[in-house]
Symmetry: C2
Subunit: 218 residues, 2 copies
């Protein structure tokens, strides 16, 4: 079973690699990255069986990375390793095509179970996230959840642009990274600002942080 590991923190990538490889010799880690964009690229090149991905990644968040991977390498199974199922967009991850969702607080044994489960094409949710799902979806037909406008009103592409801007890139750099024209990035920025009802980059950064697209590390 060939595994690709995506995580915001490089140390965690190494830790998970070590952990996965102690789980048995039918497990091989074929690669790792802290960038979502690079993750998509690696998934395409390496065609891993399972992608073990965090929700927060550089350049492209976990949800949209999942969406992209499912788009380009549909046979891949994505298992999300989130830090906090309550605050992070569980539903969006599942809609994007993730098969499993566990939290960082799970034990190694549970990780192995989860990986094997999604490898066989079945859904795996840790107890914690399962109950969150029940609460938000089954029980809450009224409270209507806004789940952060970033994931409801912005398009995937707009989120990519927002994240790259919030990571400190200018229009030109974002354009280079996404292989589009700087003018297009401008248009996206305008549209994002309009949708989020703001007119300052500072507020965009705040939105991005709240949505988990980036964090306070610099």
């Amino acid at each position: 079973m060939r595994i690709l590991i995506l995580n915001y923190e490089r140390v965690v990538i190494e830790a998970l690699t070590a952990l996965v490889e102690t789980m048995g010799n039918d497990f091989t880690v074929v690669g790792g990255s802290d960038s979502g964009l690079e993750g998509v690229e690696l998934a395409r090149r390496l065609t891993p069986d399972v992608v073990l991905s965090g929700m927060k990644l550089r350049e492209l968040n976990g949800v949209d990375t999942t969406r992209r991977i499912m788009d380009e390498v549909p046979d891949t199974k994505v298992l999300i390793l989130a830090s906090d199922p309550k605050s992070e967009p569980l539903t969006e991850a599942l809609e994007a095509g993730a098969l499993g969702y566990i939290t960082r607080h799970s034990e190694a044994a549970e990780l192995e179970t989860a990986v094997r489960t999604v490898y066989s094409g079945k859904v795996y949710l840790c107890p914690e996230s399962a109950s969150v799902l029940v609460e938000t979806k089954v029980l809450a037909e009224d409270s209507e959840e806004e789940a952060d406008v970033v994931f409801s009103v912005l398009t995937p592409r707009e989120r990519e642009v927002l994240q790259l801007l919030a990571e400190g890139n200018g229009s030109k750099e974002v354009a280079d990274r996404l292989n589009i024209s700087p003018k297009t990035v401008d248009t996206h920025r305008s549209n994002i600002m309009q949708k989020l009802e703001t007119d300052s980059l500072a507020d965009l950064v705040k939105h991005a942080i709240r949505a988990g697209l980036t964090d306070l590390k610099i």
Copy 2:
């Protein structure tokens, strides 16, 4: 005893006003604001006996607001009402001239004690912040605390500019607010970026948030 209340949240201002006025009829709340800059102005105009201020305020943080007030109306006693003494710059507040420091979790009785103590010109620290002070200053001659570069390498003026920028203002708006030229704001921005070793507004916003100059509300 005439009291001025400064707090980021308007509701809290009202709550504190009500609370203070139940403490006895020798207490009068003479004003309130959620802005540090306005707070300084009010302190000058109203010359309150005690300023009860939060650490996080709009436009100018609690530490620098205290510094300004001590500068312009030295007889005023400033009592800081912080939310978390561990993460917030207690030492800086005391250096800036605050006489007291208590946390939001204190009881009404303690607030009254604190206000009366600082009114008489004596220092009041709640038990919690006192122990933080001991730990960081008395016991920690080695660990040297970095207390966020924002408070160690930036000048007060630079922090003002940083905060206003992080609140979504452009150079012109910052300049208007501070009554200086937009060009001066530019210079400050450059200097701040150099000191914080960054070249993007996004990173400035993150620094500002970490230092508690602004938060994720928009």
